[in-house]
Every structure is written in C-alpha cells, then in structure tokens.
Amino acid sequence: MMPLLVFRERVKNFYQRNDIYLVPIIKFIFAFIAFQVINSEIGYDGRLKSFLVVFIMSLLSAFTPPAIMVLLAAGVATLHVYFVSPILSILIIIILLVLYLLFVRYTPRLGYVILAIPILYILKIPYVIPILLGIISTPIAIIPMSCGVILYFVFQVIKTAVTMQINMTVDDILQVYTYVVDNLIGNKQMIMTIVIFALILLVTYFVRRMSFDYAFEISIASGALTGLLGFLVSYLILGKSSQIFIMILGIIASGIIVFIVNFFKLTLDYSGVEHVQFEDDVYYYYVKAVPKVTVTTPQRNVKHINVKYGDLGSQSLDSEWNDTDTDEYDEDEDTYQEDHRDYTYHRRPIDRNRDDDR
C-alpha cells in the first residue's frame, strides 16, 4: 500500500502545482472523446465530422465552463439529425427544452451528467455515473441522471427512425412522430434503467455515509452489486440475456474506475492552487496560494500522524475554548492555524478548506 500512497501524493503535488494547465488539458480530452463518440454514433453530417471542427469545438470547451460543452454537444447531435430529418431534429429540440425547463435548470452544477450518461452508455460503462454520484454528490443528482438516461434512449429511437423513408407529407411526418413517441413511452428498458440507476445512487450514498471503516470502498462495492442484481433481473424479465455478459463486464469496469477516482478524490476536490489578483493603494499583487498540507512529503506525513496527533488534538481544543473573540487577529494565531489545518486534514480530509478562516 505504501508505494501507492506515495504515488498518490506525487500525483496530487503535481496536480496542485500545474492545475492551471492540467484542467484545460483534461477538459479538452473529455470533450474530444465526447464529440468523437457523438460523431461515430449519429454522424450523418460529414462536415461536422471533420477533424478540424471537432478539434476547435474541443478547444473551445477546454477553456469555458462545462455548460458550454453540454450545449455544444447537444447542438452537434441536433445538427447531425437535422441533416437527415429536420422534423426529428425539431422533436429533439423540444424534448431537450422540456427536460431543461422542468428538471435540469434546478441542478445547474450537474449539467455535465446529462452529457456523460449517453457518452458512457456508448462506451458500455454508464454504471460509472450513478456509483460516482453516490460518492461525490447527493440524491438530488437522480434528476439529471434520469434526464441523461432518457436522452440516450431518445437518440436510440431516433437512430432507428431516421432509417425510415420520410417524405414531406403530413401523414408521413405524423407516422414517424408517433413511431418515436410510441417507442419512448412503451420503453420498459428505459424506465427500468432509470429506477436501477436511482437505486444504485441511493445505495452508494447511504452506505458511504455510514460510520464504519472503509465506508467508501464498501459503498462502491455495494453500489456495483445493486447494479449487477438490478440489471440482471431487468434483462431476464425483458428477455435480453445476450447483453448480460457485457453488462457484468461493464459494471466491474465501472467499479474499478470509480475506485481509482475515489483514491485520488482529494485531488479532484477543487483544492488546487489559487491564483488571485488584487491591489491596494501602493501595490498590485499577483498571488499564488498553495495549500500547505499537500506539499509535505508523504514519508514525513506518516510520521506526523503519530507524533503530532495527541498534542495537536489538545491544542486545538484549547484554542477553540479560549478563542472567544474571533475578530482578534494576530500573527501567532495564523501560524497556529496552519498546524491546525494539518491536523484536520488527517481527521477529516474533505472538510479541511472550511476551517481556514476560523
């Protein structure tokens, strides 16, 4: 385990020092994969498939908020469908609008989930999302997750619908339209998937919040198990036993991916270096603030736990009791705080940023 922990510390250090370059690169890679998957799946329009277009769009989403990437992906998918069937693209826009107006606008920070589910579905590992959201989010994430599942099945139906011969007569249009709606409403697999995904998320979330050792690891395993059983039952009911093997492999792969992400989670926890600018009457300041706790070398870190644990604990208690006037500010308190933060890091890794300004 030790070499792994050292490795994690290295990765974290590297990330925190270079996050200003790393974040756009990671976003670029994700965007590129997303656009490529969309193109390979419903790439009807050759112009959008050219490398230059994909490259520029990925570059754009690397430097803008994630909402832009979701919007771009939705636009690309709609344009692809528009190329073969304008009617169906209008339908897609209306469905997207309904999903946005009724559900997604209430969880703006989880918008990327809607894009991630169809993409990962095509990559055969959609189970990553519910388990991961159970780890890092709250049950409210069920809303965007369900929208993502619906979207995936909408595009599945659309894919078969575009192969139908469409003339521009009203009758034909209505026929295609009723075909799509019929297939959506009567799609038992979609409803079951939504239910099972919600179950996975809830199981992972509640196990994760229990207070026993290895709660995170056990919650991932139980989430994966829930998914395995749920999809097994649903596939047996629907008579799709041919998909079971791929599903099992997908769930195992998803579990492993989430496990790896969880291992490095502190790095992804928006706890990177802060670059801030400000000024006063005399100077301009360009400050790079590095969180102290992560710069310590791993070996020394491990020593600290045992040596510092006891006296730091009493120190922090003392100061909390005596520190009634929080408006007082002095140099000593500030240096102490950094030690204190070191202490809280070992006890409660996730909350450490909240104690900064006590």
Partner: protein, 133 residues
C-alpha cells in the same frame, strides 16, 4: 513595505470573491423575499412553457384521433384535465422552488457572514495603517 498580514487576508478575500463567493455576493444584493419571489416566478414561467411544449407533443401524437372525432370530443372534461394537471404542476414546482431557494439563500448568507468578518479585519488593518502614516 509589504504587509504580510494584509496580503494573507487579501488573498483569502480574493479567493472567495473569485470562486465560491461570486454567486453569494450577487445574492447579497437581494432581500430574501425578493430573491425567492423572483426565483419562484421564474420556475413558474419555465414550468408553464415546459407544460405547453408537452401539450403540443401530446396534441400532435393524438392528432389523428382528434381530427377524426373533432365533433364528438368532450372538450369540457379534457379542458379540466389539462387545467387540473397544470395547477398541480405549478403548485408542486412553486412550493419546491420556494423551499429550495430559501434554503440556498440562507446558506449563502452564512458564507457571507464569514466573509464579512474577514472584511472587518481588513478594515481594521487599513485604519491602523492610516493612523501610522
């Protein structure tokens, strides 16, 4: 000369202002009632539009049937159904966003009090500086 205490404080303030605090500071310009009312109105409007779109989809889906039976349809029942579901939706969404956005406002207020504490410290330092010079 550089004042390290001040720089430390300013860094914290600036980090808050550029990251988590952006939204909080925007919210601080509203009273709670104003903010919540505005958000409830917005979600009511979006629910209405979403419901209308669903109605259009449903109308098109049943178009053939509607055209065939245009004369014999019981418009009163259909109308009351549509209205009933609409009232239900609006109530659920209205109350839901009322609760959600008041919660969010309170949470953001809590973060802002911490920010204000830091600002007060900052002010103190400024006063000290001006009296010194």
């Amino acid at each position: 000369m550089l004042n390290n205490r001040k720089i430390r404080l300013m860094t914290k303030l600036a980090a808050f202002e550029t990251k988590d605090g952006k939204e909080d500071i925007r919210l601080s310009k509203y009273y709670k009632t104003d903010y919540v009312r505005y958000q409830v109105l917005k979600s009511g409007l979006s629910t209405t539009v979403g419901y209308l779109l669903i109605l259009i989809l449903a109308f098109l889906y049943k178009l053939e049937y509607i055209v065939k039976n245009a004369v014999s349809l019981d418009y009163k029942t259909i109308g009351s159904y549509i209205l009933g579901i609409y009232i239900l939706l609006i109530t659920v969404y209205g109350l839901g966003s009322l609760a959600w956005f008041s919660f969010r406002y309170d949470a953001s207020r809590k973060r802002l009090t911490r920010y204000n504490k830091l600002l007060k410290r900052m002010n103190k330092i400024y006063k000290e500086e001006t009296t010194e010079s």
